[in-house]
Symmetry: C2
Subunit: 385 residues, 2 copies
């Protein structure tokens, strides 16, 4: 079979509130960023499949004929992932991002075309505005792009980005996330699929129907950390001081709920200065709570102090212990990326996965595509809502 060309993109995410507390049954709010991952899939007649991941220096190619036998289990009782691991030479337990990305790609490719008579030749190239390992959902944006491109190239004529199809894309992207992360929450791929703001509570993901555009500075401290160790550290602290820590988790839960309520009001009645005051207070409170949980870091404290000196309020986002921080901008704030340790200015209310008809997109095209488009920074600040 031959597949056409597909160009899709999906956004990264940040946690606005509720990181860590979410592990203990509390509400978290995840928001999509206007930093995106882009994927271009081109059908070829080369008899090969190629994957190019320039961000993580990963370039691999295989003969389609060599992959064909992997579709069905001929070794008895082995899973597709196990067979792919052996095929691609990826050791059990490897966490190398290149290896994980290759496994997820092969898994989604073979799963997607398992029903086809012959596997198609193709070249897939993925690049991203998202740093990897920074808690911004780069792997989910990747698997959502893969899932969307592979599924839509298979169902080439009937794919219309309906809710049902988005659910299918998200489901397969989650399988890819599982290969990469083992036990992900599913929030990242949901945000990458639907965009906007999602509420996550006790395993249930609910998109917020109306949300305002928020502008944030996203700062990558580039301090490496282990999410697993941070999560278990919080657990240890709760076990050591239950009477102290359980109320802190309750307070974080109330921060998420108050933020959700405030965002709804802002979307409905327009944003007021008082509502921005509230959002800032909530960020300050939660940053202190996260420090109480033991997931702060001097680099994050520095971010909070430096931004506060400019009247801006920040908190860590995601696992903490380094990683990224977010700083809320008010409508009137301008940013000077060269004067502060800021990585990106980002809109947290951006679209989910998008299909692009060409690379030369412009803002005027937005209105013609049901799921709105990835925009450049300046466009996103001036035109998205």
């Amino acid at each position: 079979m031959h597949v056409g060309e597909r160009f899709v993109s999906a956004p990264g995410k940040a946690i606005l509130h509720g990181e860590h507390a979410v592990v203990h049954g509390k509400v978290a709010l995840a928001v999509s960023l206007n930093l995106r991952t882009y994927l271009r899939l081109q059908g070829t007649a080369s008899g090969q499949i190629c994957i190019h991941l320039p961000n993580i220096d990963t370039f691999r190619a295989w003969d389609v004929a060599a992959l064909q036998p992997l579709v069905s289990d001929r070794k008895g009782g082995t899973s597709l992932v196990e067979r792919l691991r052996a095929f691609a030479g990826v050791a059990e337990g490897s966490t190398d991002s290149g290896n994980m990305a290759v496994l997820a790609f092969l898994y989604l490719y073979l799963s997607g075309f398992a029903g086809a008579q012959t596997l198609p030749s193709m070249s897939v190239r993925v690049w991203s505005e998202l740093p990897t390992g920074a808690g911004l959902g780069s792997s989910a944006a990747y698997t959502v792009c893969l899932s969307a491109a592979l599924l839509s190239s298979w169902h080439v004529l009937c794919f219309s980005w309906s809710e049902e199809e988005l659910t299918l894309i998200n489901k397969w992207a989650f399988q890819g996330e599982k290969i990469i992360h083992g036990n992900p929450s599913g929030v990242d791929n949901a945000v990458a699929t639907w965009g906007g703001i999602l509420r996550y509570h006790a395993g249930k993901i609910t998109p917020l129907s109306r949300v305002p555009l928020l502008r944030i500075l996203l700062t990558n401290t580039k301090v490496p950390r282990s999410t697993k160790l941070l999560v278990s550290g919080v657990k240890d602290k709760i076990n050591k001081f239950p009477s102290i820590m359980v109320p802190v988790l309750e307070s974080v839960d109330a921060v998420s709920r108050t933020c959700e309520l405030t965002l709804r009001e802002m979307a409905t009645a327009g944003a007021s200065a008082q509502q921005y005051d509230t959002l800032e207070e909530l960020m300050d409170i939660n940053q202190h709570h996260l420090s109480v949980m033991g997931v702060g870091h001097p680099a994050l404290d520095t971010l909070c102090r430096l931004t506060l000196a400019h009247g801006l309020h920040s908190k860590l986002t995601g696992a903490g212990g380094g990683g990224c921080g977010i700083t809320l901008l008010r409508p009137g704030n301008t940013t000077h990326p060269h004067h502060t340790p800021v990585l990106h200015t980002s809109s947290v209310r951006s679209a989910g996965i998008s299909e692009h008809t060409s690379l030369s997109l412009n803002a005027a095209l937005c209105d013609d595509i049901s799921i709105s488009l990835s925009l450049s920074l300046s466009l996103s600040l001036s035109t998205q809502c």
Copy 2:
């Protein structure tokens, strides 16, 4: 009548945990400091009473004969405080520390000797190691010294510092505190009277029976603040975000209770490194909670950051918004007061009010006096327990 000579001293206090939360019915722990206020009362035949308060540049003297008419109400319906205010020329609503100290002195003097046939002449000199207005209980140490010296000079032969007499001293000192502060909690005068560590909960003050010696650095940020405004700011925040703030107060309550339990264990079984770890964690947690309440200050953040860079953990003490911070020292820590913004190294487990027989005290005298003595820094660190 003629009174003898009295030399008494009483300690200042710091709040270890529970400031602000105590206003909302939570547990607070107050500890006495080895920074003390000293009072020397000398009977004279001058026909005058003189008060010398060199720390606050206040020196006043009156003829005893002029004071005598104030004892009984001849103006009909006026309180002693009102008559004293008119006599000393202190306007209603004045908060000047010299004026307040003079009023409290005259009130306790006239109340103490109201039953005597003639008012005695005397000279009273008070000096202190405590800064005023820094939340360290300097006014309570002053009124406790006044109350103890005046009561004991009146009951010159029978005063034995029994529990009953200490209760009387504390009661009168509290009256003096009311004149100075309007509506004090009574914690400061209780700590100055009994020393040690007191638990304050819902208006009830309970001394901890056995407490360990703790060493702290006490840093005065010298940032002025209004306790009243800070207290009402916390109240406003609780009203604005009840679901967020009520759990924070509960968590502070648990911090105080956990600290109390840890101190009891340290006093009973000896202090371990793990217990110091716990005390440090509790200080960090509470400092974040106090920041959430809105009573932090950049100067306090700087203190926390600078001390943490030396492995030491700090929090604000008292009203916050500036004022003093405390830094816990471990047994092995040495201090370099000239290299850090440290005011005093202080033992938080020091004695309550003390009667001194002479100025040339030494540690050997301690065992002979039922209520142990004010010791110099080096003595307190090496001999108290």
